[in-house]
Amino acid sequence: MATLENIVHHPFFLPILYGVVLVLVLPLLIGYLVLLERKIMADMQARLGPMRVGPHGLLQPLADGVKLMLKEDITPTEADRWIFWVAPIVTFTAGMTALAAVPFGPGFQVADLNVGLLFVVAVSALGIFGIVLGGWASNSHYSLLGALRSAAQIVSYEVAGGMALVSGLLLGGSLSLRRLVEAQHGEGAWFVFLAPVGFFIYFVASVAETNRAPFDLPEAESELVAGFMTEYSGFRWVIFMMAETANMIVVASVATVLFLGGWLRPFASTRELDFLDYLPPLLFLVLAAYCFWRTPKQPVGIQKGVMALFALICLGLAGAEGWALTLPADSALRAAIHGGFWFLLKVFLYLYSFYWIRFTFPRYRFDQLMRLGWQFLIPVAIVHVLAIGSALLLRQRAGWGLWPAMGLATLVTLLVAAWLAGGKERPAYLPSEPGG
């Protein structure tokens, strides 16, 4: 008889539970990430951003969601109907599936695969099919150009990004995401400090892979209107947008796991700094206090209510983080709750830098983008992999310390990078003769 006990202990129970939570929470999370992006953008551009729906626009994601779902869904007459229909779903599914293998905390993932990192990279790369097919099926020149650009761009930068990941993998010695984090705990240093160049290359490549500015050429609004999404509207467009954000979370998570120490607290192996454990509850407490302080200042009763609700949510989170502190230090639950906090914090910081560069830089041109990828990032990444491999050999065979070996590897890579970047600026292409 299938009692509750049996169900809970079934091997599929936890994965399915995580899956359901992911599917339910993610759209909301993505909505708030978009709100966050708009708020950060507004702050950098000397304006306020969404302020109307809810206090400080806190309900804007819900309003947007309702509006977009009720919007008319237009399929162009000449479009290839079922591919047009299936394309956003492919992209979204790929992003969600990749998220399944990401460990948000110790033991807090759907599946710890032996080939976890490769799996995440492989599956998130499948999203490109949705983009390419969607662009093709729209039967519009803008969409097609966007799709072609996207395909070329993602495939190119995957090489550089993959190479950068290899430099981290060499240090970690495993493909399992969980063991990569544990390796960083063992070394006592996040890999971003050991292989800063690798992290930088991955950062640039991840911006390009997720089609974010300054590499947002596939959807460059000033050139291709909206690129592959030009003909999409309503809910299908939302799915594309959600997939884009989900992909950003995926690349941020991969970077967090591989370079930023995953769910580890800063200085996780330094016992003297254990007071950092009190940071999460304190942070949420401060947030809650701020929300409470703002509550009476809201003009309308319902806005007061919403603000108070957010204050209560923050208070609840502070309570949860604080309660976890009362558990014994080696408790799995405590590790999961605090690990989740640090992991998400790092992901948000990574995403923040995405936003930051988006609002600062102009957009690359396509040939410049390709040149940057193939003529700079990929050679540097390859040299970096070789340098790190040699440094590890030095460490194993010649008994060098970790830091000198890695410092040497970084230095060598930087020299090569400087040599590559310092070469004479060639024109990317020669404009053909007028009238030709």
Binding site: I83, N114, V115, A122, F129, W136
Partner: protein, 171 residues
Amino acid sequence: MMDLVIFYVLAGIAVVGAVLTVTRRNAVHSAVFLITALMATAGIFLQLRAEFLSVVQIILYVGGIMVLFVFVVMLVNLDVALRQVQFNRQKWVAGIVVLGLAAQIVFILTIGRTQDPGVLGVPPTPADQLSPNTEKIGMRLFENYMLPFEIASILLLVAMIGAVIMGKRRI
């Protein structure tokens, strides 16, 4: 039991995808179904405890080769091609091949199994022999198959140069 269900679902997807691949009129549709079939195959690799190969299949086959295919199909997409006759008159050749293969299946299923089972007669080894999969493949690849590995890389290099030359407008 679970294994069997998973296998039949994946195999069904693969076979249906394959059939649709060779019968669709529009090459883009064919590519989509081929991707489906290849993904199902990746699932079957996973079931066979070949995790690394499964991911390689997704990265290389689906994420690399098929992107190339879709790309080229989009470049040479012709409305004219859709309206032309899709099949040539080699149906009888295909028929003979199918018959030959059917005969082989019958042979394997009946005579082969009873008379000389070969490796199939040996009971399958336990699954944990193959794990940790990535490490095993890595060790074997770089210890026993170093030369083929290098030859394969040269093959890829040659293919890359060839493709670039082919794609260039003026040689």
